[in-house]
Symmetry: C2
Subunit: 244 residues, 2 copies
């Protein structure tokens, strides 16, 4: 019955909290860049676009890293969060599908700076092989298994057209990848133990359109100038996981 490892230091952190930790980390980095050494939960929450109660609750799952009456040491908290979310190690990543989107992903500097190293770009299209994208040569899709084994790749990114996505996922799983970020607009089937997160660009727009179409109705009623302060907005993609 697959007993849990006994080394269970891992307090389990709620999914919603896990999804916000990278946001807090980014906010802390931004504060550190501005030479701010200490911050209150109120300040950090503002920088992260959440309310302070939620922030404190989230941080409480990690431990007690603040000082009552004072606040949080920016560098210390930053280190603790980075450690918690595995940001202190480097993760090798493969990208499969080097079309427009794959090209953009390969060129995206944010991955590297957050501990992800793109070790290979793969595409089934032979006309792309050998071409360099962001300084990395595109290689044949067939080499996936060898690359994953050799470089210990745990995370794969799928940016192929929808009809090819399931086959790519199957090959990734077969090769030993156990976390997949999927940009193809399809529901992937994967065995238990494999995590899939999906980024679906049209769906994001469709959700906006839904709310937009509802706004039209009440627009007239809002014309009497109501106070219009600014609100920090975060709507990170907090997606449910898959497969135990």
């Amino acid at each position: 019955m697959t007993a849990r490892s006994t080394t269970d230091t891992t307090r389990d952190i709620p999914e919603a909290t896990v999804a916000r930790l990278p946001v807090y980390l980014r906010a802390l980095i931004s504060l550190a860049d501005r030479n701010i050494a200490v911050c209150s939960s109120e300040e950090l929450a503002a920088a992260a676009g959440v309310n302070s109660a939620k922030l404190r609750k989230d941080l409480s799952y990690l431990g007690s890293y603040g000082t009552r009456g004072v606040g949080y040491d920016v560098d210390y908290l930053r280190y603790q969060i980075a450690r918690e979310i595995g940001g202190t190690q480097e993760w090798p990543v493969v990208i499969v599908g080097i079309g427009n989107l794959g090209h953009a992903l390969a060129s995206f500097s944010g991955f590297r700076s957050r501990g992800f190293r793109i070790v290979a770009l793969l595409d089934a299209d032979a006309s792309l092989h050998g071409k360099e994208v962001a300084g990395i040569a595109v290689r044949p899709f067939d080499e996936l298994a060898a690359i994953v084994a050799e470089q210990q790749v745990a995370i794969g990114v799928i940016s192929v057209p929808a009809p090819a996505a399931q086959d790519v996922a199957d090959a990734m799983v077969q090769a030993g990848v156990s976390s997949i970020l999927n940009f193809a607009p399809v529901v992937l089937s994967v065995p238990p133990g494999v995590d899939v997160r999906k980024v679906d660009l049209s769906i994001e727009l469709q959700i906006l359109a839904y709310h937009e179409s509802r706004k039209a109705h009440t627009e007239a009623a809002d014309l009497d100038g109501m106070p219009s302060g600014r609100v920090n907005s975060v709507s990170g993609a907090a997606a449910p996981e898959v497969s135990a």
Copy 2:
């Protein structure tokens, strides 16, 4: 106190449900393409990667569009969902920031096929002006206000580097855009009434890495081959909205 319009036919649909409606719509289109005229909640749920109880609950917010003992008429349900999420009209969209990502977004065929028409590509970089991307000429960022007004643009996409994102958001809001899809890794401030959704590529990978780092511990315990069926995975980005 901004009274609600009296034309309140809108049963209010939970956010989590709204985020899944586009997934159901896509599943129905796929069924229709395979000439399937009727489906049960069980079948549709499988195609959408959710369980059938959730699907039925979600659909119940729209109305009673099924037939007990029979199932759902694919075309009819498809139409009803499309109507509900505003997919029967066309939404003009502007994209600001035509770097690698903006280029990929402009070329993405999924937008057009889901009722979004890209009416303009804007960039502050003069060297891009006049260049065509996906058949659309890149224009100066300055023209934003004129374009939004002229084409009645409600939805804007931000794919500029992080430091420029807030300025772009401000200009969009000023011009009359009230829904923003933000790809820049920053927390945007917008006035109430403006919706922001955020797609944050590094954060998606960081969430995967978090779970991945926890998997390592229990790996050994899982070696005794447990049943490993397949599981449909959906982890759409179900993001909380912003600003009332």
